[in-house]
């Protein structure tokens, strides 16, 4: 099925756009905004607002009908289904399949000082009413906190004999998170550790798609909790044990 944006009628393509242009506001600037909107594929774009926002900047809000459509049947997303398994059930799985505690080591790496995300997954207290991994029987969770550089992270992972590595990245400006995430994979590979762990990334701008591209086993964005991460890791560990 091909779909288009919807305003108030099927297939009307209604789309809103805003941007700033680095020129003074004038009829010409408005026209420039309109032409950019046309280049975006908007039919009949209407510049509904234009405002001088500085000596040399003008801001535009545009509505128009998007010409493009997308065939949703052709879209493939590798999606990690949100689990309906409870903490209890997951603990049961661990008990059934492993004779030992599984080791999870997590951190917010690089210069990233944001811990709320990784804490949400790992800490006792958890997040939004979902307890974190520290509370799971059968899991030993080490949360190294933030600003942990990749070398230190790997060192500790090795020391603790980690089964699963959890990396959180929040700051994404100038794609600093990508650099940091890729560097970790490279370091793990060069130390022959990559295949020995389940490597999972998470953060506000991370999703499964992106994480896979970067060489991770999985990626989790907002709206995910400890049980989602635990289940993925454990199923993967079972697979690897068996395969």
């Amino acid at each position: 099925m091909k779909i288009r944006p919807y305003g108030d009628t099927l297939n009307d393509g209604a789309t809103q756009v805003s941007f700033t242009l680095p020129i003074e506001l004038s009829a010409k600037a408005i026209q420039a905004a309109k032409e950019l909107a046309k280049k975006m594929g908007l039919i009949n774009p209407s510049v509904v607002h234009s405002e001088k926002i500085g000596k040399n900047f003008s801001f535009f809000i545009i509505y128009g009908a998007l010409n493009a459509n997308v065939d949703i049947d052709k879209i493939k997303v590798t999606e990690i289904k949100k689990t309906s398994k409870s903490q209890k059930e997951i603990e049961e799985m661990i008990k059934t399949n492993f004779e030992r505690e599984l080791i999870f080591v997590g951190a917010s790496t690089g210069t990233d000082a944001h811990t709320v995300g990784i804490d949400a997954i790992m800490n006792m207290k958890g997040f939004d009413g979902h307890y974190g991994l520290e509370r799971y029987q059968g899991i030993k969770a080490y949360n190294l906190g933030s600003q942990v550089n990749n070398e230190d992270f790997i060192k500790i992972a090795r020391d603790k004999k980690a089964d699963v590595l959890l990396v959180s990245q929040t700051v994404t400006q100038k794609d600093v998170h990508l650099k940091n995430l890729v560097e970790l994979v490279e370091l793990l590979e060069s130390e022959n550790l990559r295949d020995k762990v389940i490597l999972i990334a998470g953060g506000a701008r991370i999703n499964h798609e992106l994480a896979k591209e970067l060489g991770y086993d999985a990626g989790f964005g907002p709206g995910n909790y400890a049980e989602d991460v635990a289940l993925f890791a454990i199923e993967e560990l079972i697979k690897r044990k068996e395969g």
Binding site: D8, L10, V48, I61
Partner: protein
């Protein structure tokens, strides 16, 4: 609810003037009827549908009498006479009427006293249906409960099927009340379009079938959500009482119903619409439909600071009109609006003063509070903020019917996302500021109290003047919305006629009897 320290004597005096103003117009109304009133009688006798030229039967019949008979007697007697003379029931007669080239006036007129007896059967059926609708509404509201402040959104796609979809999604998102905006221009049509419609401009035609479709859809979604979703449409215009009747039959819950709006913003003749309004409001009163008046609109053409008192004065007058039509305060959704230029220093305080004033003057009325529109521009972020500010005043001043402002007000009729975001905006304010109004008091003789009292005083002065001049002259002077309308100009005057002494309107007679008893 008493935060403004208002002068009660002044309020009483305002009401006295308003009553006298309304009474004066009522004297005129009582002596007249209109084609639309007569068509409404026919509708309530159960006459529906259109002829092969798509002319509604009710129009055809009334025009027939107007051309070939004496409409000053009212259409009731002609119908009664036709039924008797042809010894047919109404359905049989209409078949006969449409297939043969006859006139409704072909028949010998029955005796005045017989009319009601012949027609009672028919209008009783309608009135009973309306009564049932009313009872069902009450039952459902009692069952589900009702929010203190109800969120009201509009749908306006032009296509009733698309409207249904959007109305249901709006209800799911949190809307309590859904209005289907009429296609622009419908209010000037001297007939009500028939059947389901899927094309309109800036709105969807108000037809009985469309009402039915939307009522069903809202009942369905209400059932899903365990809430009663109210349905609104527009009566004001040349077919005011007809739409009131249709709305009553299809269980609408609110009708925009204001002659002043028609006169000023649609250039409808004042006599025509005063008469139509009276009958339509009687029907509203009977059917338990809340009316909404259009004082808010004044502030789109006049300045909201300078002309604030015209809104207040008009609210008093509209209350006067409503009382004449036996409407209870609980059904008087008087209108007002948040329309002060936000760039004015302390405009927010002025808005509080005005909204709280309306609240305290009409404590029982389910006031309709309109969002900013005039000072909204294409900056959707700014608009979203203005709407938040409006939502705050709504909650602070405990309004009842809360029309939600759209961030795209200056651009287009609402997209589905505009409506959704508007509901979320209002909900965040409702919840996060729940008890704020109980927490705060305004300084005695401070900015807000002073402003409210000043507006009240000006309204009082204006009412006094209007009582002297009469409504007709007042409207000619352009007192409201700075728009002048002459007594004998505007659309629809040719549909007004003086009632003869033998005029009969079986429905209004029945309603008057009912109101006397209840």
């Amino acid at each position: 609810m008493n935060k403004l320290n208002l002068d009660n004597k002044l309020i009483t005096s305002c009401r006295k003037y308003a009553k006298s103003i309304a009474k004066d117009v009522q004297d005129y109304i009582n002596k007249h009827s209109t084609v639309s009133v007569e068509r409404t009688v026919l509708r309530l006798l159960g006459i529906e549908g259109v002829d092969k030229f798509d002319v509604p039967l009710v129009n055809r019949l009334v025009d027939d009498v107007k051309e070939n008979g004496d409409l000053s007697l009212g259409v009731s007697i002609y119908i009664a006479s036709a039924l008797k003379a042809n010894n047919k029931n109404l359905t049989e007669y209409l078949d006969y009427y449409l297939s043969n080239n006859v006139s409704l006036t072909d028949n010998k007129l029955v005796n005045k006293n017989e009319v009601d007896k012949i027609l009672r059967l028919y209008y009783k059926k309608s009135l009973t249906k309306i009564k049932k609708n009313r009872d069902l509404r009450t039952k459902l509201i009692n069952k589900y409960g009702e929010r203190k402040t109800e969120l009201y959104v509009i749908v306006a796609t032009g296509n009733i099927d698309e409207d249904v979809l959007q109305a249901q999604e709006a209800a799911r998102a949190g809307a309590d009340i859904v209005a289907v905006i009429r296609s622009t221009g419908q209010s000037l049509l001297d007939y009500v379009p028939y059947g389901k419609t899927t094309e309109g401009f800036g709105g969807t035609y108000a037809t009985q079938e469309n009402f039915k479709i939307m009522r069903l859809a809202l009942d369905e979604v209400g059932n899903e959500l365990n809430r009663y979703i109210k349905l609104v449409n527009y009566a004001s215009g040349l077919c005011m009482p007809e739409i009131a009747a249709m709305g009553a039959l299809e269980r609408l819950d609110v009708l925009l119903n204001d002659s002043m709006y028609g006169i000023i913003f649609r250039d409808i003749n004042m006599k025509r619409t005063f008469i139509d309004q009276y009958f339509s409001r009687m029907l509203n009163a009977y059917s338990g439909i809340i009316i909404n008046t259009g004082e808010d609109n004044y502030l789109t053409t006049s300045d909201a600071v300078l002309e604030a008192h015209t809104v207040t004065a008009s609210q008093f007058i509209n209350e006067g009109f409503a009382l004449e039509a036996k409407l209870k305060p609980e059904l008087m959704g008087l209108g007002h609006a948040f329309e002060i230029n936000p760039n004015i220093e302390n405009s927010f305080l002025l808005e509080i003063a005005q909204a709280q004033l309306s609240r305290e003057l009409f404590p029982k009325a389910p006031l309709k509070y309109m969002p900013p529109t005039k000072h909204i521009n294409g900056n959707i972020f700014r608009a979203y903020q203005q709407n938040a500010m409006f939502n705050i005043v709504t909650n602070l001043t405990e309004q009842k019917i809360h029309l939600l402002g759209m961030m795209t007000e200056a651009i287009h009729t609402p997209f589905i996302s505009d409506r959704y975001l508007a509901i979320k905006n209002a909900e965040m304010i409702q919840k996060s500021m729940k008890s704020l109004t109980d927490e705060i008091t305004y300084k005695k003789d401070g900015f807000i109290q002073k402003r409210a009292n000043e507006v009240l005083e000006n309204a009082h002065m204006l009412l006094k003047q209007i009582d002297k001049d009469g409504m007709f002259k007042t409207l000619a002077n352009g007192v409201f919305a700075e728009t002048k309308r002459a007594e004998d100009a505007g659309k629809g005057l040719d549909g007004v006629f003086k009632k003869s002494n033998d005029y009969i309107n079986v429905v209004s007679d029945r309603l008057e009897a009912y109101f006397n008893e209840n």
